[in-house]
Amino acid sequence: MAGRDCLVANDWICGEYLRSRSQELVDATAQHVQITVASVAIGLVVAFPLALIARGRPRFAGPVLGLTTVLYTIPSLAMFSLLLPFFGLSAALVVTGLVLYSLTILVRNTVAGLEAVPAETREAARGMGYGPVRMLWEVELPLALPAVMAGLRIATVSTVALTTVGSIVGRGGLGNLIEDALPSFFKAQVLTASVLCVLLAVAADLLLLGVQRLLTPWTRIRTAGSREAR
């Protein structure tokens, strides 16, 4: 009975709200996850060649890094609005905007990671007869992976947060619930959706941290044994 009352009393935390609107919450969370995953995945696919261009051709490095940085300074609401004439009120608009944001961090970190590969490692691989493609895949990328993953984590966490602004076009995942609840001052819905959003960001970050540890087993061995080895 206390549960029934909390909706009427407009409490911040309300078990009855969670029970009666669980489907709505699950749907919003699913939309949030879809938009975030699509944005970060596309961002990674676009950022990778850009980073390779920026590294391989110094003439393009300035413009590529400059352009992605300029994109990052544009406020999210403005970014989504500027894309409106091209995409209409669609999820593609939100995803495109978020991809543009993720580029700054992803390109920067990938370039930094590739540049941090020691020259002697590259020389050694070349001496062993590695061609440029094999060098990239088997030597440079694995060594750049920690930096790339660090960028991916930052990009993912901020994308989860920025997705809420997509509610301006009705595709903001949990942001939609927050916006719906505002006119009626529905506290439980605003708080629940906000908390879910933060939990989603933290969960995504931990998941990527786990992936990074799986992909780079040698970093663990080195940090564990580095003192004894030297």
Binding site: V70, T73, I74, P75, S76, L77, A78, M79, S81, L82, L84, P85, I154, V157, S158, V160, A161, L162, T163, T164, V165, S167, I168, V169, G172, G175, I178, E179, A181, L182, F185, F186, K187, V190, L191, A193, S194, C197, V198, A201, V202, D205
Partner: protein, 222 residues
């Protein structure tokens, strides 16, 4: 598709610039809340960061605050304020939210800047008989300046960008033009507002880069 032409018409229509809901008024509002928030955030974050950096403690704290800050949606924080009694307090919800978002980059960058000051330089200064206070003002602060300024730049840009979202919860600022356009399905107005906001954000970034270039204390000697 006559959006560009109608956007231009909106921007060049003097009626859209003057009066209570006009561009000039909203721009003033935008700069006012951004400025107050940035000043408050500096007043809170910089002394803490410089002190933590000087004593060499609290690094994990600074970095964690920064990481958590990135995970919290601005829109959610503003919305939370708007369902509390704070909603009746004028610009306060926006300013408080902006301060919360400006503190992490300021704190982290200033702290990291202080910690990256070459330890041998600090030791040498101490060996020359400098007191803790002298060390802070004459050695650590000038050397930490570039990093602290980088933090200030990202905080300022973030604050100006975030102030836009305030319009989504009914607060003021340039974002109003965009949200009003959405409510009336007026795409040219939405695009015009977005252009104005984007130009403002880029201008703020450019001005800060210029100020940074002119004011850097080490640039004269290097």
């Amino acid at each position: 598709m006559d959006v560009p032409a109608r956007t231009w018409a909106w921007l060049t229509n003097g009626a859209n610039w003057s009066g209570e809901g006009g561009v000039w008024h909203l721009l003033g509002e935008h700069l006012y809340v951004s400025g107050v928030a940035l000043a408050l955030a500096c007043a809170v974050a910089l002394p803490v960061a410089f002190w933590l950096g000087h004593t060499g403690r609290g690094g994990a704290l600074a970095v964690n605050i920064s990481n958590v800050g990135r995970a919290v949606p601005v829109f959610a924080v503003l919305a939370l304020f708007m369902v509390t009694p704070l909603r009746g307090a004028g610009y306060v919800p926006t300013i408080v939210a902006l301060v919360l978002f400006a503190v992490p980059p300021l704190l982290t960058n200033a702290y990291v800047g202080m910690r990256e000051v070459d330890r041998s330089v600090v030791e040498a200064a101490r060996g020359m008989g400098m007191s803790g206070g002298q060390l802070l003002v004459r050695v650590e602060l000038p050397l930490a300046y570039p990093m602290a300024m980088t933090g200030l730049r990202s905080a300022a840009v973030q604050v100006v960008a975030t102030a836009t979202i305030a319009a989504m919860v009914g607060q003021g600022g340039l974002g109003r033009i965009i949200t009003a356009g959405f409510n009336t399905y007026d795409t040219p107005q939405v695009v015009a507002g977005a252009l104005l906001v984007a130009v403002l954000a880029l201008l703020v970034e450019a001005v800060l880069v210029a100020v940074d270039r002119m004011a850097a204390p080490l640039r004269r000697t290097v």
